[in-house]
């Protein structure tokens, strides 16, 4: 019997990217449905009535919401291939801590970086730079955040890489120059089939945000 897996997402969402990467890592067959965020589908609203947000993962008709929760679900429901969390409880705690850190500390600033101007944008930039400093330090000389193996924290953050050019352009700063370890980590992640398949072109993200800023914020 084919297990029906459906993912409701949005092409530029780094949250949706996490869940897609996890599904790809496990070789799970799934149907991806692109949502129009200005006209959300009735399925999305029915399956995520509390938050009404993407991504929504449906497995055998049952919804799982929140991207990090979805990634852990995927790891537990398909345990036989490419483990996403390590087996040691302390290492698992570290992985959960850092993915929680990324969520807590980037959500607000990253949104403000592309949707705001002036002081609000500047404050967001400073907050995001602090996160990058912390992650650069945490990465150290490791190949991935968990050590030698690609895992939860890498999945949690790699989607942001497709937004780096956009942040650099709209907020006028350089991530490439200041955070070499994060950049080489990202390139290492991109060598994985799952990541290469899922991440959108950075240019496409930049174009979309530039359009938004032109039309909504009047910035050319």
């Amino acid at each position: 019997m084919v297990e029906e897996v459906i993912l409701l997402g949005y092409w530029a969402s780094m949250f949706g990217m996490r869940t897609r990467i996890a599904l790809e890592e496990k070789g799970v067959k799934y149907e991806y449905r692109e949502e129009d965020l200005s006209n959300k589908s009735s399925l999305l609203l029915e399956m995520n009535p509390i938050h009404k947000k993407i991504p929504v993962l449906l497995h055998k008709g049952k919804p799982i919401c929140e991207s990090i929760i979805q990634v852990q679900y995927i790891d537990e429901a398909w345990p036989d291939k490419n483990p996403i969390l390590p087996s040691d409880p302390y290492q698992r705690a570290q992985a959960r801590f850092w993915s929680d850190y990324i969520d807590k500390k980037t959500y607000g600033p990253c949104k403000a970086l592309w949707s705001e101007t002036g002081e609000k944008q500047e404050a967001a930039k400073l907050e995001f730079v602090e996160v990058l400093k912390t992650l650069e330090s945490e990465l150290g000389d490791k190949s991935f955040f968990g050590g030698n193996e690609f895992g939860l924290v890498d999945i949690a953050f790699i989607g942001y890489y497709s937004w780096f050019c956009t942040y650099e352009k709209v907020a006028n700063f350089s991530i490439v120059a200041e955070f070499p370890k994060v950049i080489s980590w990202a390139k290492r992640c991109l060598k994985r089939e799952s990541v290469a398949k899922v991440l959108p072109d950075s240019d496409k993200v930049l174009k979309s945000i530039s359009e938004y800023r032109k039309i909504i914020l009047g910035i050319h």
Partner: protein, 224 residues
């Protein structure tokens, strides 16, 4: 040769985030040293173990620090496997994690943080928002003794430490009636069930002192 496991918990008596860890340790029968921290005078140990967030709870196990209450609860469950607090089934686990996040983020924000900064009408509106969110837990409780099913689980510890044994004290101090008897019969039944569990009741902050503390926190949040 059995080594004595060194378990230490840095916490604050009034914090639901650290109280839930005490409940979990008690449920599992794990011996631990408790270190009471102060909001305004954080110990060098706390700042060294949690430099990023500088918050309690911090669990130290055999010299290694585990941070963030949900992460600590899952660590405890995976390290001491008897009396499990998370469900076995991946879907049930995802639901428990989802609702735990709802409690600590949306319910905590609407039900306390935002309320502290609002005036009377604003607080009434937020109380209504909070009721809508708690209704989701009300639905989950139908036909169950606890959110975890037959026994206290991960979500009971998170929601229990936060709502009846923390937020309700804050609401009493603010003069707000949020959980009405008529709309939340399952919730009321659940709280009565929790009050029969020693590992839970042993770890609840004393009520009057807690109401006083919550009033103090209202002032603190307001001026921040």
């Amino acid at each position: 040769m059995a080594e004595k496991e060194e378990v230490k918990l840095l916490g604050i008596w009034a914090s639901p985030f650290s109280r839930r860890i005490e409940m979990a340790l008690k449920l599992k029968g794990i011996a631990y040293d408790y270190v009471e921290e102060s909001l305004d005078n954080k110990s060098p140990l706390l700042l060294a173990l949690n430099p990023i967030h500088k918050k309690v709870p911090v669990l130290v196990h055999n010299g290694k620090a585990i941070l963030e209450s949900h992460v600590v609860l899952e660590y405890i469950d995976e390290t001491w496997k008897h009396n499990p607090i998370l469900p076995q089934d991946p879907y049930d686990r995802s639901k428990a994690r989802f609702f735990a996040k709802l409690v600590d983020e949306q319910i905590f924000n609407a039900g306390f943080v935002s309320m502290t900064k609002a005036e009377q009408q604003g607080r009434e509106d937020l109380a209504e928002q909070t009721r809508e969110l708690i209704t989701y837990l009300e639905k989950e409780l139908v036909g169950k003794d606890f959110l975890g099913g037959k026994s206290v689980g991960f979500l009971d510890l998170v929601a229990g430490s936060m709502i009846p044994f923390c937020l309700e004290r804050g609401w009493e101090g603010m003069g707000l009636q949020v959980i009405t008897d008529d709309k939340f019969p399952e919730y009321k039944r659940w709280v009565k069930n929790l009050e029969k569990v020693e590992s839970v009741t042993d770890c609840i902050p004393p009520k009057e002192k807690h109401i006083e503390h919550m009033n103090f926190m209202v002032g603190r949040f307001r001026s921040s």
